[in-house]
Every structure is written in structure tokens, then in C-alpha cells.
Amino acid sequence: MSEHIVSKNLYFLIFGALMVLTAITVGVAFVNLGPLNNVVALTIAVIKALLVILYFMHVRYSSRLTWLVIVGGFFWLAIMFVLTSSDYLTRGWVSFTR
């Protein structure tokens, strides 16, 4: 695994982007978009998380094994959400009262 040197400027650029995205999140909170409220907020949050993972955590320059572990981790998280909601969202489907 070769050590990739990341320039300081890139770090400042990413930091700036994160700050701008935070400002947008705060700004959007004052606008009522109806059902889109959550969609917008979560989209921005995902973009920020991706920036942190790819650049600050150096994943972009890492080996395929690291990629596998990270993608596997998120895939696993998705499975956990599906299983949890399969319980939580369906509790009213069958009633045991006669």
C-alpha cells in the first residue's frame, strides 16, 4: 500500500465544502419543503459523510480490501435497517384480538 500524499489545499477545500453544506442544511431548515424536508437534509448529510470518508479518512487512496470492508459495512447497515423496519413497521398488520 503506497502512502499517498494529499495536498493541504485539498483538505481546506473539503473543509470549506463541509462548511458550505452545513450552512445549506441550516438554511433549508427555515424553508418548508413538505415531504422533501427529510430528503434534502439526508442527501446533504450523505454527501458530507462521503466527503469525510473518501478524503479525511483516505479511503479514496486505499486498497481494494479497505473498500470491500467499507462497502460491506454499509451494506450490512442497510440489512439491519430492513430487518428492524420489517418488525417495527408491520406490527399492526396482524391483530391477535378476537
Binding site: 440489512i79 430487518l83 420489517s86 418488525d87 417495527y88 408491520t90 406490527r91 398488520w93 396482524v94
Partner: protein
């Protein structure tokens, strides 16, 4: 040469045939046992083989303590009335039996003893990747064991081994906190073992030892290590939360202060179902080795068996909901978990079918390890298939918390793992100690264990189906016949466990010396002396052959398993 005085070392210089047909003298070699005799050299050892023996002594000790609790349970259930112990004492008996057998025996047994001893030998390494962490894991095991034992001695725990709230939170005044802390520490011991195996398998394989040349023992232990590393933190945090709630009255599981009791069941089984596979996969590891060696064939469908271990490890994490069918889980989620539970039976079935297919047209010899392995296949099949009864939504409502469940998991844990463990101990005994155990006694006790086991646990299937609930010290009189049969079986089983203890200890001094490869097996662990030197191999082995590549029978000679009068045992001829 004879200045070295080992209990394991009688001077023995008679020439012995080695597998290649070469004659060479066997000197009283230096090995890991006679390298140093000081207590310090054992307690501060970094040798994986010595740490394995430290584990062997401590784990065996707790197995016998756990067995005593089992005997007390069976003694109480001999009569319908609760006449031997009070109900509250009985609660403690089965709790202590469960905690000791699961956390102090089954989970560490095969990985920490045989895995520790064999993983480096099988891949051609000098030791595990982190020898000091390996020693630390044994100390953590001992600290955890001392904490759990002290909880038991100052008053005990009565919640059942899975510490369900609210038994374990606001309604328990037994020593739940202390036992929970002990299991927390034990968890770290198993995390460190898992970590060590994963790194070792990735980085320390001998030249030429590719992933698909690894013995299936390694694949299974790799899968086990994944669960240990990823699953154990969940039980650790769950028990810590429980301790937190009991100590600081923070609402986590107790609804009166804002908690959710079902959350505990989710968290607990998220670890404890995979933990079943921590106990099961290493047993499968042993069976693959034994079946290959004693039918002198490559395991049928090597890659399928290898990947089925990984599949079990991964899918084992997705079935915890089958323990909550009769809790408050939704029916739809129950259906999903039921389906995945059926699916996870597939990789287990692949193994059973492939072992059976390996036997086909093999040259089978019925030595003690093979008897245990064949017993394993039958009993694990019953244990696995009755698991499917319990994974079925409707059936489970009838069977939940009955003796059917008890019988099911004892078929898997005792009929499966414990038989594999005993088979493995016999199979590698010559390598570990350099001595041969008496084969006749070995076969005899294997049969006793098989008979005793079935007599103990088969009646419990019937009892459970008839509706006898688990965890009661008294029962209606119509259940007595089956309970008496079960208790009688337990006594036979106890004899079956005592005989090996005696003859294995006997063999340390009086057993005939073992050759390097007494079973004519193929693994790298047999390519070094018995017992191996501290550094495992005199020179780093270079692997140019596939796993389980048995030599043609014509070229094989009788090389080992000499009876006390130096005559080869009948079954040690190839092609028998």
C-alpha cells in the same frame, strides 16, 4: 541425551519407518514440552502450544464443574415432586450449568485449545501473529472465570444463562452484576483469540500455502474468528447496559423508567445466535479433518465446504429474530426470520452431505476419532433438523420453552460440538503429547458416550412435544418414565466422559510413543515431530501439494499406531 528428564520422554531410539519409507532414528528430541520446566516458563509462555495446554487444563476443569450441575439437575428430575432442592435453588442450578458450559467451556473449548495448537502448525507458521495477545487472552479467560466463579460462590445467579430482563433487572436480587462483568471479561478473551486467528491466517501462511490449499480446519476457524470479532462486542455492550441499569437505574430495559425489555432480547440474541456458530463451526473444522484422514480421500467439494463456513458465519447474524417468535415481534418479521433461518440450514446441510459423499468409496477405518466423527454426523443431523421445527412459526409456538428446545440444542452442542471436541482431542493427542492413547478403550468409551447421549436427550424431545416446560423443578407424574430414562442416560454419559479422562492421563506416562504421523494424515502438523519443537518446524515448509492429497495406497506402509507389544494395530493398515 538422557539428561533431559521429561515425564513424556522415555529414551526411545529404535528406528521407525517414516511415510516416505526412509528409516531414521528417533532421538529424544527437544520439544515444546521439555524445553523448560519452570512454572514461570508456563505462566509467561508465548508459545501457542503451551497456551493451548493452559487452556486445556482450565477449560476441562470448568467442564467438570458444569457437569456436576447437570448431574444435580438430572437427580432432581428423577422424581415428579421437587424433593431434592427448592425451586429457587433449582433456578440457580440450571443457570450455573448454562453459564459455565457455554461461556467457560463450549465457546473457548475447540478454538482456544485445538485451534490455538493447530492453526500455526497447519499453515506452516512458527506461532500466531500476536503471541503476547494470545497469552493475554488466557489471562482474561482466567480473570473472567474467577469473577463468574465468585458470583456463583457468594450466592449464585438465578436468571437462566441468557439473563432475560426483567428477571435480571428489577426482579433479581442475585449476583447478576458480578456474573455479567465476568462474561464481559470472558468476551474480550474470545475477541483476542479471533483477532489473532484472522491476522495469522492472512499473513503467516507458509510459502505455497494458498487459500485453497488450507485445511478446512483453518477455513472453519477463520469463519469462527469473524463471529468472535464482530459478534462478541454486542454481548459485551448488552451486559454492560444491564449492569448500568442495575447500578445507576438508567432506563434501558425497564419500561417503568423508560426502557424496553424486548430490546434486551434483540441485543442478546444478535450475539447469542452467532455464538451458537462460534461453538459449532470449530466442531465442523475437526470433523472435516477426521473424515478426510480416516476415509483417505479429499473432502468431496472442498470449496463448497470452505465457503459454507463463511456463509454460516455471515448468515448466522441474520436469524436472531427466531428467538422472538413468541415475544412481541411482528408476525411479518417472524416470517422473514423464519425464512432466513431455514436458509442458514443450507450451508450446514452442504457440509453433512459432502462429508457423507467423502465416505463413499473411501477406505474407511473405524478408529476412535472416526467413531466420534460418524456419531457427530448423525447427531448433528438430528439437532439441525429439529432446529427447523423450531424455526417454523406455528410449530414454535407449541414448542417454545419446552424440553424440545433443550433436546434440540443439546443435540447440536453435545452431540455436535462435544463429540467433535473429544474426537479432535483423540485425533491430535499423539501430536500434542507425543503419546498414543489405548485404542480399544477409546472406541469403547466413544460408544458409551453415543449411547448415553441418546438415552439422555432423545426422551427430552418427547417430553417437550408432550408439553413439559423447561426450567421447572417439579412436573406431572405422567412425565416420570421419560425423565428417569433421561437421568439414567446422563449417568452413562458421565461414565463415558470419565473413561477418557483416566486413560488419557494414563497415556502421558505409559502410552506408547507416537510417531510423527501416526494416522498417515496429510496436514502440515503431521510433517513435524510429535510433540513439535518450540519453533514448530526446523525449517519453513514449502507447500507444493493440495489439501488432503493422500498418497496412493500401494506406496503407503504401516507407520504407526503400534500396540504396546509393537505390533501395528489392525486398522492402521491402509485400505482396511
Amino acid at each position: 541425551m538422557s539428561s533431559i528428564n521429561s515425564p513424556f520422554d522415555k529414551p526411545f531410539e529404535q528406528p521407525v519407518d517414516s511415510p516416505g519409507g526412509r528409516m531414521r532414528p528417533v532421538p529424544a528430541e527437544r520439544n515444546y514440552l521439555n524445553a523448560d520446566y519452570s512454572v514461570r516458563s508456563w505462566l509467561l509462555t508465548k508459545d501457542h502450544k503451551r497456551i493451548a495446554l493452559l487452556y486445556l487444563f482450565s477449560v476441562s476443569f470448568f467442564f467438570f464443574i458444569g457437569s456436576i450441575y447437570a448431574m444435580l439437575i438430572r437427580l432432581e428430575l428423577l422424581t415428579p415432586k421437587g424433593d431434592l432442592v427448592q425451586a429457587a435453588t433449582y433456578n440457580k442450578l440450571f443457570t450455573h450449568h448454562g453459564i459455565i458450559m457455554i461461556f467457560l467451556f463450549l465457546i473457548p473449548s475447540i478454538p482456544a485449545i485445538l485451534g490455538n495448537f493447530l492453526v500455526p502448525l497447519m499453515i506452516g507458521a512458527k506461532d500466531l501473529a500476536f503471541p503476547k495477545i494470545n497469552l493475554l487472552s488466557w489471562y482474561l479467560y482466567m480473570i473472567g472465570a474467577v469473577i463468574v466463579s465468585s458470583a456463583i460462590m457468594i450466592g449464585g445467579v438465578d436468571t437462566g444463562w441468557y439473563f432475560y430482563v426483567p428477571y435480571s433487572s428489577n426482579f433479581s436480587n442475585t449476583y447478576v452484576t458480578l456474573a455479567g462483568l465476568g462474561i464481559f471479561v470472558l468476551g474480550f478473551s474470545s475477541i483476542l483469540t479471533g483477532l489473532n486467528f484472522i491476522v495469522t491466517t492472512h499473513t503467516m501462511r507458509a510459502p505455497g500455502m494458498t487459500w485453497f490449499r488450507l485445511p478446512l480446519f483453518i477455513w472453519s476457524h477463520y469463519a469462527t474468528s469473524l463471529i468472535m470479532l464482530l459478534g462478541t462486542p454486542v454481548i459485551a455492550i448488552t451486559l454492560l447496559l444491564l449492569v448500568f441499569e442495575r447500578t445507576f437505574h438508567v432506563g434501558i430495559f425497564d419500561p417503568t423508567i423508560g426502557g424496553d425489555p424486548v430490546l434486551f432480547q434483540h441485543l442478546f440474541w444478535f450475539y447469542s445466535h452467532p455464538a451458537v456458530y462460534i461453538m459449532l463451526l470449530p466442531g465442523m473444522a475437526i470433523i472435516s479433518e477426521i473424515i478426510a484422514t480416516f476415509s483417505r480421500k479429499n473432502i468431496f467439494g472442498y470449496k463448497f465446504v470452505a465457503f459454507s463456513s463463511i456463509a454460516i458465519a455471515v448468515f448466522g447474524f441474520l436469524v436472531w429474530g427466531h428467538h422472538l417468535f413468541s415475544s412481541s415481534q411482528s408476525v411479518f418479521a417472524g416470517m422473514i426470520f423464519s425464512f432466513i433461518s431455514f436458509a442458514v440450514a443450507v450451508p450446514s446441510a452442504i457440509k453433512v452431505f459432502n462429508w457423507t459423499a467423502t465416505l463413499f468409496r473411501g477406505s474407511i477405518s473405524y478408529d476412535t476419532p472416526m467413531l466420534y466423527a460418524l456419531g457427530y454426523i448423525g447427531l448433528f443431523a438430528i439437532g439441525g433438523l429439529t432446529g427447523l421445527f423450531l424455526a417454523s412459526l406455528g410449530m414454535d409456538v407449541h414448542l417454545t420453552d419446552t424440553y424440545f428446545v433443550v433436546a434440540h440444542f443439546h443435540y447440536v452442542m453435545v452431540g455436535g460440538t462435544l463429540l467433535a471436541y473429544l474426537g479432535g482431542i483423540h485425533y491430535w493427542w499423539p501430536k500434542i503429547t507425543g503419546r498414543l492413547y489405548p485404542e480399544g478403550w477409546g472406541r469403547f468409551s466413544a460408544l458409551i458416550v453415543f449411547v448415553g447421549f441418546n438415552l439422555t436427550f432423545f426422551p427430552q424431545f418427547l417430553l417437550g412435544f408432550l408439553g413439559m416446560p423447561r426450567r421447572y423443578h417439579a412436573y406431572p407424574p405422567e412425565y416420570q418414565v421419560l425423565n428417569v430414562l433421561s437421568s439414567a442416560g446422563a449417568s452413562i454419559l458421565a461414565i463415558g466422559f470419565t473413561i477418557p479422562l483416566i486413560y488419557l492421563l494414563w497415556s502421558l506416562r505409559y502410552g506408547p510413543k507416537a510417531t510423527d504421523d501416526p494416522w498417515m494424515a496429510t496436514g502440515l502438523e503431521w510433517r513435524t515431530s510429535s510433540p513439535p519443537p518450540t519453533e514448530n518446524f526446523v525449517e519453513t515448509p514449502i507447500v507444493t501439494w493440495e489439501a488432503y492429497e493422500f498418497a496412493p495406497q500401494e506406496t503407503m506402509k504401516v507407520v504407526g499406531k503400534l500396540t504396546p507389544d509393537d505390533k501395528p494395530d489392525r486398522s492402521s493398515y491402509s485400505g482396511n
